[in-house]
Amino acid sequence: MIRTWVVLCFGALAWGQTQIFETPLSPRIANYKIDVTLDPEHRLLDAAEQLMWTNTTEHEATELQFHLYLNAFRNNRSTFMRESGGRHRGNEISSDGWGYTNVSSIKARLLAEEESGPYWNASQWPTLGESAWSLDHEFIWPDDDNQDDKTVIRVVLPEPVPPGGSVLVDIDFEACLPSPPFARTGAKEEYFFVGQWFPKIAVFTDEGVWNCHQFHLNSEFFADYGTYDVSMTVPEANILGATGLEVSVSETGNGMKTHVYHAEDVHDFAWTTSPDFVEFKGQAQDVEIRVLMQKDRAYQGERHLIAAQHSVTYFQDWYGDYPFPNLTVIDPRRGAAGSGGMEYPTLITAGSTYGLPESLRAVELVIIHEFGHNFWYHLLASNEFEESWLDEGINTYTEIQIMADLYGEKSDSIDFPFFKIGGLDMHRNRYASGPDLDPMLRDSWSYYSGSSYGINSYSKPGVVLTTLQNYLGRETMSKVMKTYVERHSFTHPTTEDFVAIANEVSGQDLTWFFDQAIHTNRVLDYTVSFIKSTAIDEGAGFDFDITRDDLMAGLKDDDEKEESDDEDKTYRTEVRLRRLGEFQFPVVLKVVFEDGEEVMETWDGKDLWKKFFYERKSKIASAEIDPDHLIPLDINYTNNSKTLELQREPMTHMNATWLDRFQIVLDLLAL
């Protein structure tokens, strides 16, 4: 069906009728038409933006609020720069590479009901007309009152936008891109990656207030869906990639070309251009894939394409339909890593270097992760400012599952012969390095540190959801994820929505689990604290009818018993478990006796400790909690088991290994 519609769509595009979907997939609240011209020499964007915004709430909107994200890079006094110190993901803002957005004019008018559409593209929109208001804007600081921060503006309307009403807004602006690219956007020589570049209206919530946060170091974005018609004028030698589908390309006659793109049911628009791109094309199920590689890494084009094909196939098979006809994958230029590893609707950026070995699966991991965001960010547009785990965390979980299925659980991230690491292990390691600094859920800029934001937005949710999957079973978890996608696509789902779906699909009240995992910083750590087997001397002590003669005989018997074989003995075995963390979770205990007998037990894990007793002809050999390692949320696997005897062979091997490695190092160090 989708494939057929894509064909129709391209056919329609050829006729200049820009329509992708038969019916709107989303509430098209924020619709944009932007004409932008790139001045490559000065990395400037000269743009005219037209916005048609509809108030879908039951409240009047007396003002509009917009994000001016590029102003985060205006100087070192912005909130972003104060929080980051000029560094983001290992990249540093250049002292002569600042960026900005300057709004030069804002005009608007309310639309009459018959003018409000729906429209498939901006060419059908009404004009602003002479009667439009000329509006002033002012900067506001809703999060931290930093008056040097210029990333949010408010525009007061002479008349409010009534519920159900629409407003048409014209904004002229100039934007300067940071160089080299920093925090996802910018320019480097001939390469431009243009993200967070236009004045973008915030989300007017059902409560009748604007949700418009400043641009922070540890936060991403939140926006409403709509259509985008964007014409980008760039040097004619350049290749261009953007969100949506290309409608037309025309020469302007001054060495420039205008590329027109159209996108529907998306909530952001990014584009890139460079003369050095090498294009690769492929198909995955019903999705056209276009990879734009840097010339010097073109030999990795196939690798990128295959990773993108895997991404599309796995996500559609496992989580739901990706309704868009295409996906564009961008390989950022050398020296422009700041624009790598980022997601936009139908367009993602990867990240690689020349010579990256196949065993280091950074390309695959990044592409699978960033494409995943086309579900957990794009289709399900949760508020990344306030609930970052819903996009980054769920995405980390799906990335872990797909990478493990593709490349093997223990070697899917790094797979050298002498060194292997799996994605789940990597995230568990990261989580265990700081498990109790914050709860998962909080405003993304208010975590204890950047590291804690990373742990609680990426790694911990990945580990939490993997633990939940092991608890519910893969099939049930798969249904949870599919239902979440089906039910909440093209909406702004919240944590409560996800929990409700999990409860409904699993048929269980999982509130006890989510409350601990999401809303607290509780740590899960169970241990086998004690094991012991003691021979039971059945003849010891006095019987009730003891006589002097019996006493003498009994003592004699005891002497004889000491000489009897061990085989005749019965052992009383005690196993003690402890809950060292506050996180309560049911656990399985496996007890193994020396004769090979295995006993499985379960414990609800609620009390601080639990004892198990056995009487057997054999001593205990070992006891182990979670023997199959199904609870990666447990921050210490090593204390999960205890053996009666010292593990000589493993310890000998471990010692020998370290001895061997130290010998080699010392030999090399010898002067």
């Binding site: 270097t353 060194f419 568990r428 088991s641 593990q647 000998t652 091997h653 130290f662």
Partner: protein
């Protein structure tokens, strides 16, 4: 010549296997000491846990995570001790080098007294010489910077990544080679000190530099032969260790034995390389300056003073190869420069007079 020297090095190493054994024992001892805190920490944490039940080839990432996160205090406190032990090892290795080279030089039976005497005799000269060679190591580190500037001049500061990558490989390779070459100079300087009975550290250093420059093909050829053998052995050993995917219990003994064999190989290898380098170096020294021909310690310095200052180059072997037929009583051509020849002749005269 390289092949003969190489073979001779190995055969002499086998003859002096007690020296290799000594090195083997010292390295095992130090590795055992340095790794003690780590091993103790692991034993404490995992000795009674099932976490060690894993294939032999790889360490468990889960366990390493648990260990590192739960042993921060132990690792921090062990670090200082480890650094002291490593420093002690560096000095010990210098002492041992003197002991072994001194014993190899004379091909005499190895005795405790002789080993101890040689170790003590060369300890401080070797330390001084090492400090001189450290300057060379430092220069090696400057080379990538200089090459980087050269690269910038050729391709600019924004070259295509494939150029930067391969040029980076080239820079690393050059640096490693220079390090390796400096290590050879370190060896030959020490050999010179031993052969001249530590006549002068500075002169030995200068002579080793000259030797490594003039006889670069032999120095590199012999060193590369040994490096190749080491690389092959290391690769084979690593492959073997990685192939031990047996569960614990079935392969621990094999792994242990192979570890011992590889360490023993490295000890023999070290002795063989020193012996081969010693033979190579000795074969190019004038016989008159060899201590065996003099036997009077105080003459050595004087002989070198009078001969080697004029010796600009090591050109042809004077000992290990047959001299070219020449006009009677005329020195072989082109052995060394005229100045050097006259210096050597003077030294020989003086030496004969003293005899």
């Amino acid at each position: 010549m390289i092949i003969n020297t190489f073979k001779n090095g190995w055969s002499k190493s086998w003859q002096h296997k007690s020296l290799a054994l000594l090195w083997f024992l010292m390295i095992v001892l130090f590795a055992w000491l340095v790794s003690a805190p780590l091993r103790a920490g692991m034993a404490h944490m995992a000795g009674y846990s099932l976490v060690g039940q894993q294939p032999l080839g790889l360490m468990s990432f889960d366990f390493m995570t648990d260990f590192l996160l739960n042993s921060e205090g132990l690792l921090a406190s062990a670090m200082a001790g480890t650094m002291v032990l490593v420093a002690l090892w560096l000095f010990t290795s210098i002492y041992m080098t003197g002991a072994i080279l001194g014993s190899l030089e004379g091909d005499r039976p190895v005795t405790t007294t002789r080993l101890g005497g040689n170790g003590g005799r060369y300890f401080f000269p070797f330390i001084l010489h090492t400090l001189l060679v450290i300057v060379l190591f430092g220069i090696s580190l400057l080379v990538p910077k200089l090459l980087g500037m050269l690269g910038d001049a050729i391709w600019g500061e924004d070259p295509y990544e494939n150029i930067a990558f391969w040029y980076g490989i080239f820079k690393i390779s050059v640096t490693v080679l220079l390090f390796w070459y400096a290590k050879r100079i370190l060896d030959y300087g020490r050999i010179d000190l031993v052969l001249t009975k530590k006549a002068s550290v500075w002169r030995s250093f200068v002579r080793s530099l000259r030797f490594a420059r003039v006889k670069v093909h032999l120095v590199v050829g012999l060193g590369a032969s040994f490096a190749a053998i080491y690389a092959i052995a290391f690769y084979a050993y690593s492959k073997f260790r990685l192939s031990l995917t047996l569960e614990v219990g079935k392969g621990v003994i094999i792994a242990l034995l192979m570890g011992v064999v590889f360490t023993a190989f490295r000890a023999l290898y070290r002795v063989a390389q020193w012996r081969a380098e010693l033979d190579l170096y000795r074969s190019f020294l004038p016989p008159t300056v060899l201590p065996e021909a003099i036997d009077v310690q105080e003459d050595v310095d004087r002989v070198f003073e009078s001969t080697l200052p004029g010796v600009e180059d090591f050109n042809e072997p004077l000992v290990a190869t047959e001299p070219e037929p020449s006009v009677a009583d005329e020195p072989a051509q082109p052995v060394i420069s005229d100045d050097a020849l006259s210096g050597i002749a003077d030294a020989v005269d003086k030496h004969q007079q003293q005899d």
